[in-house]
């Protein structure tokens, strides 16, 4: 049953009222820890309210259109899961079912990392999630890629509001690849509010991909929160293509030394799409390395935002952090606001950051044209090349090929042949 919020969401009161009405029907309402978490989250949302222009973290992204759109809560179906045969002990369950069978495990992790105290949309997600997915990888397991597909239902008159929630708990020394795929029915209008928490065990290795190709009319607000302990290795690649108004946050916290994180992203925006990427890498422990590369291609009147925070705490000596942000502007009307934010409290560290914003390289264009390739195709090829730099890093061949095809088609370029 969907509950319609006929009045505007602009007052957080609407949400508070809805919470009171829905609370008893939500999964885990009979579990004190979960019920307390939800209540704490909605209470915090009540204090925070929706972010406004004066909120430094939301300076370039106006959530007004989202707040002003009347929406209905969706029942929240669990996602479709695609995976091969799973080793013994691996659990892939809807969160609801997970709460029945592994309540202690879930209670000890859910909502403990994605910080609802600081983030109104994370708070809403934590209060309102109806279902989601729980994945548990036992220590030492090596697991073939698991793909989690979130799709939307057919449209009714009132736009739907989907709360997507993922909890991934990976045991010590386990190796795991996760693909998150968000898509929706084209031309439909809805909001996805997604929170993914990924907790790695020591020396675990996790390779994460997120493909966001929501309907061009959709809103997508998401936070991926990662906890990386001693000697763990986390890698994530975000590909943002869909959505009218998108804010994707990736937050990695090192909770042990000698851990490593790769945080890469590519987003393609055209028309009037607005794509905001926020990343936070928290070097709370010494001897950790982070590598970050975000690329954006903006055409027409698209707007991009990149904000990359790196904290290097007092104890985080021997930190090695590198951040790069590159934006390609294909039109005079496209805009980007890019901001690296490094806060460094330790003294023996290596931190670099760089941002470039520009058009296609004239030397490269001439080189292609001098070989007979027409100016338009040369521009397409270079645009593809700029993006493919990220796509080519994907370690899952089928996913890499799929995205390569998408990029080539988007740029009206011929298919790749074998060996190319």
């Amino acid at each position: 049953m969907a509950t319609a919020l006929n009045s505007e969401l602009s007052t957080s009161k609407t949400h508070l009222d809805a919470f009171t009405e829905l609370e008893k029907s939500m999964p885990g309402h009979d579990l004190p820890t979960i019920a307390r978490l939800r209540r704490a989250a909605i209470a915090r949302f009540g204090e925070l309210g929706f972010p406004g222009e004066r909120d430094e973290d939301w300076k370039f992204t106006n959530v007004g259109p989202i707040v002003r759109t009347p929406m209905r809560y969706d029942n929240g179906l669990s996602p479709c899961v695609e995976c091969g045969s799973l080793p013994h002990g691996v659990q892939v369950l809807s969160l609801k079912e997970g709460l029945n069978r592994f309540s202690e495990l879930i209670e000890s992790h859910l909502g403990q990392y994605a910080d609802f105290k600081q983030h109104p949309f994370v708070a809403l997600n934590t209060a309102f999630w109806r279902d989601g997915l729980f994945i548990y990888i036992p220590p030492g397991a090596v697991v073939e890629p698991i793909t989690v597909v979130w799709s939307t239902e057919h449209q009714s008159d009132i736009p739907a509001l989907y709360y997507r929630r993922l909890l991934i708990v990976v045991g010590t020394e386990a190796q795991f690849t996760l693909v998150e795929d968000y898509h929706g029915i084209p031309q439909t209008h809805y909001l996805t509010n997604a929170v993914t928490e990924i907790v790695l065990g020591e020396r675990a290795l996790v390779d994460h991909y997120k493909i966001q190709h929501e309907s061009p009319n959709a809103y997508h607000l998401a936070t991926t929160q990662v906890v990386a302990p001693y000697k763990s290795n986390f890698s994530t690649h975000y590909f943002g293509m869909g959505g009218e108004l998108v804010r994707n946050e990736v937050r990695v916290k090192f909770t042990g030394s000698h851990a490593e994180a790769t945080v890469n992203g590519l987003y393609l925006a055209r028309g009037t799409q607005h794509m905001d990427n926020h990343t936070v890498i928290d070097h709370a422990m010494p001897h950790c390395a982070s590598h970050e590369l975000y690329k954006g291609i903006l055409d027409d009147k698209a707007r991009g935002v990149f904000n990359g925070k790196i904290f290097v705490r007092l104890d985080a000596q021997k930190t090695d952090a590198k951040q790069t942000n590159q934006t390609l502007l294909l039109s005079d009307d496209a805009t980007i606001n890019t901001k690296p934010q490094l806060e460094i409290y330790a003294d023996d560290v290596k931190c670099t950051h760089g941002a470039t914003v520009g058009q296609l390289d004239e030397q490269q264009l001439f080189y292609l044209r001098s070989r007979g390739i027409g100016a338009d195709q040369a521009r397409s090829l270079l645009t593809y090349a700029f993006a493919n730099d990220i796509v080519s890093r994907i370690q899952v061949p089928s996913l890499r090929q799929k995205l390569e095809r998408t990029l080539l088609e988007a740029n009206h370029l011929p298919k790749l042949e074998e060996g190319e």
Binding site: R369, S370, G372, I373, A375, D389, L413, E417, E418, E420
Partner: protein
């Protein structure tokens, strides 16, 4: 094949070429030699259609057609090829994919059908043998991470695949050790033929020991000051630019 008449060209209002006259017939190999700053690379750039240069006077006829009116891609499709002094790196596009796009653009221009994957691969294999290019350079992004020698060899490989009628080699010898130079020269010599003309631009006579030209022209201060047979290169080697009364210096601002 190529007729350059009284060509003047400038960069940012500074005149670099000051009246070049040059005729290259089908099948001929001409060497353009000259000190730094004499205008050698400008000449190559103007012929290939680099838009940093403004032609202020004169004309260039290629197979009787006005070359200067054509876009760079149109020149390439008509059979003009420039081997770059500094080949450009294109991360994200493999050498093969790039070349297939180029070959098919040229074929389309000629009214020929596009090559399918199999036919293209066959062509590439054939030309690779000629140039002795390492197999993995095909699958790597264009010029990215290539050594200096590999980049130059890749240029000659492009030339072999694209099969131009007029090839301009801009300082193809620069930065090469003797083995790499010989390999590149072997590739070029293998591509010599009655239907292909070449302009070999170089600072040193060294390359011309391997690619023996039909004619040698000495360019100084934007003009051809001396022309002769292949022996002119040897004379230059012996006496140096100064010995021929040519200043070998880098003009201020270069």
């Amino acid at each position: 094949m190529l007729e350059i008449r009284n060509l003047h060209a400038s960069v940012e209002d500074r005149e670099i070429l000051r009246g070049i006259d040059l005729t290259v017939r089908s099948g001929e190999v001409h060497a353009i030699m000259g000190p730094n700053g004499s205008g050698k690379s400008t000449l190559a750039g103007v012929l290939a259609g680099r838009d940093a240069y403004a032609v202020t006077e004169g004309e260039v006829l290629y197979e009787g057609k006005n070359l200067l009116e054509m876009d760079p891609e149109e020149r390439a499709r008509e059979g003009v090829f420039l081997a770059f002094q500094y080949p450009v790196e294109i991360p994200g596009v493999t050498n093969t994919y790039f070349l297939r796009a180029a070959v098919n653009a040229i074929r389309k221009h000629r009214g020929e059908s596009e090559l399918d994957a199999g036919a293209f691969l066959k062509l590439v294999r054939e030309k690779m043998k000629l140039i002795q290019l390492k197999d993995d350079l095909l699958k790597r992004p264009v010029n990215e991470g290539f050594s200096g020698g590999e980049k130059k060899r890749n240029e000659i490989f492009h030339m072999a695949v694209l099969d131009p009628k007029l090839a301009i080699l801009d300082e193809t010898d620069s930065g090469l050790d003797i083995d790499a130079l010989r390999a590149v020269a072997d590739g070029v010599n293998a591509l010599r033929g009655p239907n292909r003309s070449m302009l070999v631009i170089t600072h040193y006579q060294r390359l011309l020991q391997y690619i023996v030209p039909d004619r040698v022209h000495i360019l100084a201060n934007g003009r051809i000051v001396k022309s002769g047979g292949k022996e002119l290169a040897l004379e230059l080697e012996e006496k140096g630019y100064a010995g021929l009364g040519i200043e070998d210096r880098v003009p201020a601002g270069v």
